[in-house]
Amino acid sequence: MTGRRRNILFVTTDQQRYDTLGCNGGALARTPVVDALAAAGVRYERAHPQSVVCMPSRSTILTGQHPSTHGVWMNGVALPEDAPSVAGVLHDAGYRTALVGKAHFEPYFDPFLRFPENALGQAGTTAPAGTHRGFEHLEFATHGPAGTLHYTRWLAAAHPEAMGAYYRVLDDALQVSAAGGGDTGAPQVGVNPIDRGWYHTDWVADRTIAWLDGLDAGDDWFCWMSFPDPHHPWDPPQSEMHRVDWREVPLPAGYPADAADRERILDAKPRHWRLWYDGALVSNYEAPARWVPATLTADQVREVNARNAVECELVDEALGRVLARIEERGWGPDTDVVFSTDHGELQGDFGLLFKGPYHVDALMRLPLVWRPAPSAGAAPAVVRRPVGLVDLAPTFCTIAGIDPPGWMQGRPLPADEDDAVARRFEQVLTEWDSALFGTDVHLRTITRGGWVCTAYRPGAVHDGTEGELYDLGEDPLQQANLWDDPARRGLRDDLLAALRDAAPPTRAPRLPLEAPV
């Protein structure tokens, strides 16, 4: 150590799969920057979110609590302003704190400008009270020039000709658009003529660097740099599309090319899987309401994956620029870098895109890399035991030399596999609750001992007896649901008992749904 506290650069993407990084075996996107962090630090092979949608998952990251406890049970439910925040803990301990990019602790649909994230876009980069959720500096972006966020206002002022370049995310009914684009007509795919330097990925890096440049050399800092990509729409700058030719992209292992195979696999799962595939049920706002997944073609899967890979490469390069600036400022030896995302993306698995109440690796297995500050002298490691995003907040506290507060439900991440075994990192929980115009779906999932077990609570299309059980070792694509296998009944009951025993406290009364997203 050099005598000062360790800085923390926390990098998130949005809706990025585990297998999109080179260090995790991905072969499509080149991600040398994150790969180098992984080689020098700790790479987690089974990091799970506690929710597979943005607002609940991001609230878990910030609070260190499960969704049941912090109360943000679905997109459109605002995290209360007085909710606990790891950024607040660090700020109170003297850290300079910033959040640059996508926040999404509050709904975006906000014509009354009721929520501070939206109001701040018009008011500046500092909250009226000095901090908001513990962050003294806030500059927001999302998946294009939407709403009143800082990126929107910057693009409108600096490059108004580019405002119409992005894919139009919502349709005339304000639903997630099913309009197709690109070469294959895949939904949420668009040709974006925007200059690469004006794209939100580079903007997030630029604004992060600008904030870092404003700090004194001796400041201790925590910066959450939050890229909106590779979440759909898949419309990276067209100038970069030469990087990956979609025609040469292999179909994902999780995409059964034969329709009969797809449907057989889906039919062995709880019925909402097949109902969505056939376009008969849309249970939430996380995918285009007017898109029928059964119409997805192999070429569309290829093009979506190609565009997603380009977006991942741009994020990696933007991160590289920020890391270079940190080195130039002399902070490199004392800076921890944590890279992750909020949840995954189906991206062709099972013949589906986007996300929803589907607790499988596509949505639950996340990239997570922790490169401790080089001055800490930690050895590189790979952790195979399950960990959760709920463990990030206490990890940040530990890095800063602060005891994690009692309201955090996670634990500091293990430094290596031996540490994970010694501290009994054995299971991780994920939950889903949606209720939209009379259609509700409720899932509770435990990942433990190489198995994923999901119990369904009664809802619009479930009677509470349904479930899913997958052997991650024998069935890494989760295509064989063993829930009703008599030979697995004892195992299933044990997992359900562990799930019940580990259930986190539930916030009451339930927070209101105030917007679709």
Binding site: G76, P107, F109, D110, P111, F112, L113, R114, N118, A119, T148, D172, A173, L174, Q175, G279, A280, L281, V282, Y285, A289, L436, F437, P512, L513, E514, A515, P516
Partner: protein, 135 residues
Amino acid sequence: MTAARGSVRSELRIGRPADDLWAIVGDPGRLAEWFPGVASCTVDGDERVVTTDAGLSMPEQLLTVDRLQRRFQYRITAPLFREHLSTVDVHDLGDGTSLVVYSVDAEPSVMALVLGGAAAAALERLRAMTEEPGR
């Protein structure tokens, strides 16, 4: 399939007599006092124009202002809405308290969620300003 039209209802018990609440809810010119995010409103006959904190201007048609039922209804006529009807009912519970019910029906359905969320916040503010005046 996702319905084109959405319907959302919020309700809140408030510790004030119904007539006191109706004096606020039933006066279309007082909306900015209790509806978060409404910067101002102007009333001209049965037309009201609401300006939000985001700078949006939303023209409305006032449909029902019934002091006997304590029922207030209006329709947003902005082009964003294919259909809209909001209803605010103030029920006297007979013990010096009231139940205020705010219902929103709209197409596109998304707008029912957005308005319904704001309406729920409005009821909370109505309670705060009447139960804790001066707050």
